[in-house]
């Protein structure tokens, strides 16, 4: 069974989106990044993000992630913000009583997006 299925599939995504996005908007470290966005469009974007984080079906590439955040990086999006998002994700999953090993898998998956979201060249494997 895939991580996505183990987490409960689409129904789990639906349940998690509201909880997660509410935490994000209440977090003053990152809420301002969402100040001007259209909530209706955010709903489907957050769902897409959550589906990806849960290891579900998606077709977003690293390049999509990069393009989608370039303008934010130019305005100062950095690791602290990425960390805050991950933290809120973990808090949400804990609230939803997701098993700790599954939470760790979700976090690992989201971490693979970090360099693309922040428009960085990934560190070469030799230095990793």
């Amino acid at each position: 069974m895939s991580l996505f299925e183990e987490l409960g599939g689409e129904a789990a995504v639906d349940a998690a989106v509201d909880v997660f996005y509410r935490h994000v908007l209440a977090d003053e470290r990152i809420a301002h990044w969402f100040e001007d966005v259209d909530m209706e469009r955010q709903a489907s974007k957050q769902k897409a993000f959550m589906t990806m984080a849960f290891g579900g079906p998606h077709h977003y590439t690293g390049l999509d992630m990069r393009k989608g955040h370039t303008h934010l990086v130019a305005r100062g999006l950095n690791d602290l913000h990425f960390d805050a998002v991950v933290e809120n994700l973990v808090t949400s999953l804990n609230e939803l009583e997701v098993a700790p090993d599954k939470v760790a898998q979700v976090v690992a998956l989201v971490e693979t997006l970090r360099d693309d979201v922040l428009s960085r060249t990934p560190a070469p494997a030799t230095e990793a």
């Binding site: 639906d14 909530m39 079906p57």
Partner: protein, 328 residues
Amino acid sequence: MPRLNFEGRDYALETGESVLECLERHGVALTSSCRSGVCHSCLIRVLEGAPPPAAQKGVKETLRAQGYYLACCCRPDADLKAERGAAQQRYRAIIESVHPLNATVARLRLTETNGFTYFPGQFLNLVHASGQVRSYSIASVPREDAWLELHVGLLPGGCISTWVHHEAAAGESVEFLGPQGNCFYVPGRSEQPLLLLGTGTGLAPLYGILRDALGQGHTGPIHLFHGSVRRDGLYLVEALRALEAEWPQFHYHPCVLEGPAEEDIAVGAIDQLALERVPSLKGFRVFLCGHPDLVRQMQRKTFLAGASLSDIYADAFLPAAAAASTPS
């Protein structure tokens, strides 16, 4: 093999093929992104045929009601006729009456609308003889009203609103395009509490949504907050009080920013007053109409107060220039 008629042309669907795949195979460009039913970029409107329910999974109720499906998840087993988005149609109607609701809002009723169908709360684009176009929300309920009702606020220098207030007369012909918008009531979950909130002529769609919900047997509590700067900006106060007396589940909350305090009219900011009276919105369906700043702010506040993202419907009244060029 099922056939797909898309915007007037026929395409043969291969076994198990999605509408998106079929269109791409034939070189028809349809916006898409995730190809797995998540991002909703590839929504199409089905005009004839019954696509599998899987193609509507996660699609917002109001879009479902209008026949929208996800092209990437739509693998039909029978013939289908579909189009890209909602193509606006042009209609002609006759002015039944123009009647003042207060000093700055006029009620425009249209008849002989030539088969125009809509959901109360959607909007249409009124076309003036000069070619100017303005959006107005629909306050009438087709099941109950023999006319199409719009509430037109008089704007200084507003070409269409000035015409409606000062020149338009019964019997004249008008042209409009529509319907548009996803801010309306969909039956089901009839015990769900509803929050309706708007300022100024934002009451028009809410008045339609309210009467639609009541008429369709909605039993859950319905809170309508209507706000204005001063008392003289409110309208339909008596009509709403009468509905409140008739329907025990309906609660009308008129609000004004500037006093004096009057019986049954709250003084203060509408967003604060609403969240004071209905502090938790968990499980609510929310409808927000009117000034774009208020709508945007309230989308966030109602979500933070517990309403689910999928249960918040909004109709921001954009300024004329933007509204005319925003057909979405």
